[in-house]
Symmetry: C2
Subunit: 464 residues, 2 copies
């Protein structure tokens, strides 16, 4: 391992430069105008996979954005086969005017690299690639069998990935899945995420009159779709953040008291948290700590709202239409399809009869929990401890990686979430960035991880 | 009058063509990009005033958009002096994609002229100009003294007009003000509007965290400004449309029983009203008819709302900011300044403490009522009856012309609202249009009106 680690140390500068090229491609999967860029980005990943020594590298087309695949399978049948997963697509960039530098012109400041996709997830895909390169360049081989899949639709719900995995079950067959798309607990506090929340993302469309009206001539005669929508949204949660949808909490498994004890040991400074966000008060469900609420409790948030006139000045319009995007973060055992139905039923129940209301489901995914005592998890703890010099803590993440559940279900493989982001790196907002120390230690962790995993004897049914 | 009326009949085709030129100028007062167009439009009005024979025609600059003035004062001191008021600015055009034809390329279909500003208010300013032309071309004189003022800021609350009127009190001194910016009751049902609602137009800005956040990582920890805003809006009115702001109804003078009797005689088909708007139910304050609610009762409507992601697809953002425009239609005796204060106080009272809320007043104006028995009103009834062959009904209008109150207060002159629009001509929405029969009869009504007004002997203190 020494040769490998010093290779990483001496090349970290050029690795960072190479990452910039990856970040320059505006691979926004939700925007039809960027479709060509997304494909260009897939080709970029294809080239890098070939470069680091993966074999059978190919691009699979889907109805929308392509999936890139590569593998190296010469470690032997007694060694584990891992499937590394990541995504090369990124979130949209609006509000664009709040970016300090252009989102697709990466810059390095204060030991951080700023660009859309820096931490979510290009930087983390790249460090996995470089850990493979470090092994291949120095040993001409990898210590375990590796399959690597990088998709282009994660930010729009991985719409074509599930079918791809079902259709290519043999190609993707593996013992463990490794995903680097999560955060550590904080700077200098390595941690491993053992749980993810699920998601049900909905849209509510409200139609009042069949055209925009003069609010003077019609105000008082016709219901207003914005007022009606506000009325609906205000009844989704109570004043304390408790979700009021009938049956919403039915399948929630509460945290165990051991889990809550562990959670209470995590360092968390609520005053700094509030200062960092410039808020006077935290907000959410009573009876749970802030850390519990953002990761182990289900939530509901409006992600967008629109209707009528939003320009400068005053337009006296009574609009025809209004709409909102509303998403719910689910905990493991809450099924998105069921929650979508409960949401729609409840919204239709509370909707005023004086407007027309339509509810659509935009996408969803199950939450996931990975057993803390699995050998692949133990190997991850060792690898991280070697790279960071500190034993990692265990956390749960509030975000969703629906694909983790798909891997669990279809490939019957547990997922290890080896994340190197930090909580304040703005993955979905302006000035997204990635800490370069974690980029460096991330490559080392992944290099160690391949080595630690090779100690698991698969002949022995995965028990080392 | 015969000569004058046949002049109008034989020139109505070319009047309509000339109106198109006026409508082609995109004089959107609220949009800074159109500032040059607004000035061009003022110059267009200036030229037309000179053309029809007005004197001392000039453009007065204001801090924003210019005011055009002209006069003809040779009718003699025993004749009334009227001040005709209109506006040459127009509403914005969005949503632009809902227009059948481009908003500034006027087209004639089914006896209607379609363009932004057709009825509100360019078509109505133009018919006043043409009634003056008809008198001047045929008699070389007008039967009464006329002053004509056309402003460019009506759609943004006539922000500089009040100061202009105060500064030019002598120039504008008059016995009556005539405004053509309202609607008749319906096609073939001439009516005169004797009352207008006032307006208080507000904006609510809500700030949650200091930046857009990932809704997975922060959802459950931080209040969401969209949810908070919906919560605020939902508490402004109850489910029946009654406004909940403390003290809001304190100054409302209820309709007299005579007024309500008159109102009940107005032809109104609620089934057709609902069909025309494609709504299943009307909506509003209990205990009042729809006609009463849209004209003689105060109301509250959201005119716009925004926040977070409103594009295609799903962005899992917990936004930093959200906002809404909310306007209240007031009845005479409700003071906008007082209502603005009550609104702000109430919003601050109900606002969740977990977000920052700012309330701004964008503009406001008093409502107005004109006595039915004033000689200028009686002359208007006669003029309209002559042009339309039917005695006009009396109505109140739900919209606001704040300047009417300014004329009442500063010039001490009652306003006659001689409107030729129809209720379904979309003054603030796509496909705005103006009925050409009313354009034609409107010119005739105004020509008659000048004549009828000349029967009032001002030496006799305005009693004829």
């Amino acid at each position: 391992m020494d040769k490998i680690l010093s290779y990483i140390d001496s090349n970290i500068g050029s690795f960072t430069e190479q990452l910039k090229d990856f970040l320059r491609i505006p691979s926004i999967s939700t925007n039809p105008d960027n479709r060509g860029d997304v494909r260009k980005c897939a080709q970029y990943v294809e080239e890098r996979m070939k470069e680091v020594g993966l074999e059978n590298v190919m691009i699979f087309d889907t109805p929308l954005h392509p999936i890139v695949f590569g593998e190296w399978l010469h470690a032997g049948g007694d060694k584990p086969t891992i499937l590394i997963y990541g995504h090369y697509d990124v979130q949209p960039v609006d509000p664009i005017d709040l970016w300090t530098d252009p989102p697709f012109e990466p810059v390095i400041k204060d030991g951080k690299i700023f660009a859309r996709g820096a931490v979510d997830d290009k930087g983390q895909v790249f460090l996995q690639l470089k850990s493979i390169e470090a092994h291949m360049k120095n040993n001409g081989a990898l210590p375990v069998n590796v399959k690597f899949i990088v998709e282009g639709e994660e930010e729009i719900g991985s719409v074509n990935l599930e079918k791809f995995i079902i259709d290519h079950k043999d190609l993707l067959k593996c013992d463990y899945v490794v995903v680097s798309d999560t955060s550590m607990f904080g700077k200098g506090i390595p941690s491993i995420c053992y749980g993810l929340r699920g998601l049900a993302y909905m849209q509510i469309n409200v139609t009042g009159p069949n055209r925009d009206l003069h609010s003077g001539s019609y105000g008082g005669g016709v219901d207003n779709p914005i007022n009606a929508l506000a009325h609906i949204i205000s009844k989704l949660k109570d004043d304390k953040g408790k979700i009021l949808i009938d049956g919403f909490y039915d399948d929630v498994i509460d945290m165990t008291s051991e889990e809550r004890d562990e959670y209470s040991k995590l360092p968390f400074d609520e005053i700094k948290y509030k200062e960092g966000l410039d808020i006077d008060e935290v907000f959410g469900e009573e009876g749970y700590s802030t850390l519990e609420r953002v990761s182990a409790r289900p939530t509901l948030d409006c992600n967008g709202i629109w209707g009528g006139f939003s320009g400068e000045g005053a337009k006296t319009v009574l609009p025809s239409k209004a709409g909102a995007k509303v998403s719910m973060r689910l905990v493991p055992n809450q099924h998105p399809e069921k929650i979508e139905k409960l949401f729609e039923k409840y919204v239709m129940k509370i909707a005023p009869k004086s407007v027309k209301v339509e509810v659509k489901s935009l996408h969803g995914g199950m939450g996931a929990l990975t057993p803390l005592d699995s050998p692949a998890m133990k190997a991850a703890v060792s690898a991280m401890e070697m790279a960071y010099g500190a034993r990692p803590l265990f956390t749960r993440e509030g975000g969703s990686i629906p694909v983790v559940n798909v891997f669990q279900t279809i490939l019957n493989a547990p997922t290890i979430l080896l994340g190197f982001g930090l909580p304040d790196e703005n993955p979905h907002s302006p000035d997204e960035h990635f800490d370069l120390e974690n980029f460096h230690k991330g490559i080392k962790t992944c290099a160690h991880y391949l080595n630690e995993l090779s100690k698991i004897n698969m002949k022995n049914n995965g028990k080392n």
